[in-house]
Symmetry: C2
Subunit: 131 residues, 2 copies
Amino acid sequence: MNISDAARTSGLPAKTIRYYEEIGLIRPARGPNGYRDFSDQDAHKLAFLGRARSLGFSIEECRTLLSLYEDRERASADVRQIARDHLGRITRKIEELQALHGMLEVLVARCHGDDRPDCPILDDLAGAEPG
Amino acid sequence: MNISDAARTSGLPAKTIRYYEEIGLIRPARGPNGYRDFSDQDAHKLAFLGRARSLGFSIEECRTLLSLYEDRERASADVRQIARDHLGRITRKIEELQALHGMLEVLVARCHGDDRPDCPILDDLAGAEPG
DNA sequence: TCTAGTCCTTCCAGTCACTGGAAGGTCAAG
DNA sequence: CTTGACCTTCCAGTGACTGGAAGGACTAGA
């Protein structure tokens, strides 16, 4: 199938698919006209990549996951470790964002938000002592 | 003061300060030797930028916040709106990450994680139907 | 056969906010 | 006068695409 069909079945933009080929994630065959010719397996891999990316795995993690996926001798512990590492990063990121959210929420609540210039948000950014 | 002192007092790397000058966030004076010469006010602005960035505001938001900070006629409502928009984005990002976290957690829990190859995580990425 | 329109190709540049490094000028201490 | 720490500019790279230009290939219709 052509790249637009591969894009449709995998849900990835054609541009992204070309990029994935460029960085060696997939190696579709080529027709005599130079067009990429995607097998069903290629499309399946692309869908795999799309799902892994949408779960937030990095490209390099996706590369590893894909090679594990294709390795019939793989140990599920390897996959699990990658997923657990990723889970840890997500957890930390959530905590970080929640801390930010809490701080900003306080600032927004304290700012009266009218047409006067005095603003606790700017005061805080400028380094004013709280209180 | 020289850039390394500005870096020390603001907490930003010298490289970042040069970058901020390049994109027009600050305009430090120059000495006869071509060195940047930061006033206390410059250092203060840099600290302001550092705090705003650490709260996750984009560079363009920082630019606006800084100009509002320097505008004695500003309306605090403008600042509040930027902060609220940002708060909304943080909230959505947190929800997104929590959804991801939930999915990955389920997958990790279901994967026995030993030296056998069967792995629900890969099955899921490959598009297997749940159940 | 010609043409219009849609597909495909490659290549280059831009995104965001830095970060690293090379090459070279300046300054302060000994 | 040398050493070493500072400063300068410029170029390139990061991650993961995304947009667009220039040009070749294919398909449908007149």
